[in-house]
Point group: C2
DNA sequence: GAGCATACCTACTCGTGCGTAGGGTTACGC
DNA sequence: GCGTAACCCTACGCACGAGTAGGTATGCTC
């Protein structure tokens, strides 16, 4: 039942999707949708919630906290891209639609910031292991960038149905980890004097 | 006049924004908006177009093609984040709203892919200078990731009004260039045997 | 000052889609 | 066979907002 909603929302976008179409696609009538899942917003939030939870679980399940940082990153990425590859509709709802729609931006932002936190925590952990430390803001920003890059590749993956999630994850590692590893070893880039 | 539209669109989103509000905000009445700028879609496209062109020009003006790759990247990023910092509304319209709205996704995707192309071209150029070459797909994907990371930081910047665009650009360089430089030197990451 | 055009506004029509009221149908108890 | 209760549908009310029709004021020509 939620499946139908996710499908329609992903095809049409939140606003353009009509409850009539969702009901029809689910094989029932509109009042039933209202009876079971409430208003359109509640329905969308329910979709968001389910897809988000599934995704988080997929990632958390793959990236155990006791692994070394690079391995954790790799497993997490692989799980993430695997999820997106398998649930392209879900990803479209979660990321493309919710963004910009005021009522859901908050919901999405929460999930995203949890991700950012996890990544930042990972970096911080790895840094401390190397005996280094950098400001919390910097960590957050780097984590933000990594999450953004990953989302961007997820989009790319969603638009290329033949692409291999595993390979995409490898590419992401090449971008992310090589840079992050440099940072961990104390190599930084500074703006030229000008 | 477009300014009012950009402001309202950025606050409300495309659908939630009413022509009445835009007209009121611009200090004129609705029929005038229609007389000067046509339908709501045309109006939005006009906003998109103006902000997009401004942004592209800001970047292109800063990153001359004859500079070395790292310098070009740095100047381009600095110009980009400077632009976002100065036109937060514009960025919100351009990126947050247009995404997901079917009719404008194309417009946005075009702009984005032009950016990706430029970045990929830059990487390719730098690679050839090093006597290396990698598959075009890989280049595209790496460029995609970099663009995604940059957009993500732009969002961060838009949500943190006190943040310094210059500093944000520096952070982006640290994530992007350190990783890219590794790639350019032939260092790559490979998945563990498992 | 009469005729005319330009610039603008108020007040409407009309389509669309969310949410619901009220009616039909099947299954079960008596 | 008849009451009734659970379930689901068709068909509507209603609000909101895009786009427009027709009227009013200001300035310009002769």
């Amino acid at each position: 039942m939620l499946d139908a909603a996710v499908k329609v929302f992903s095809r049409r976008g939140f606003h353009a999707a009509s409850m009539d179409e969702i009901a029809e696609d689910a094989g029932i009538s509109k009042p039933m949708v209202y009876a079971y899942l409430g208003t359109k917003e509640e329905l969308f939030v329910a979709c968001l919630h389910r897809e988000g939870t599934r995704m988080m679980q997929a990632i958390a399940g793959a990236a155990a906290p006791d692994l070394p940082a690079d391995d954790r990153l790799w497993r997490g990425l692989r799980a993430f891209f695997g999820f997106v590859g398998a649930h392209r509709d879900g990803w479209a709802v979660l990321y493309r639609q919710a963004r910009g729609e005021q009522p859901f931006a908050r919901e999405l932002a929460t999930m995203r910031s949890r991700l950012v936190e996890v990544v930042a925590g990972m970096l911080d952990h790895a840094l401390r292991a190397e005996g280094r430390e950098i400001a919390a803001v910097d960590l957050e920003v780097v984590a933000y960038a990594l999450v953004g890059a990953t989302e961007s590749l997820a989009d790319w993956l969603a638009d290329h149905p033949d692409a291999d999630p595993e390979k995409t994850a490898t590419r992401m590692m090449n971008v992310a980890w090589l840079g992050a590893a440099q940072l961990l070893h104390g190599v930084t880039w500074r703006p030229p004097a000008d």
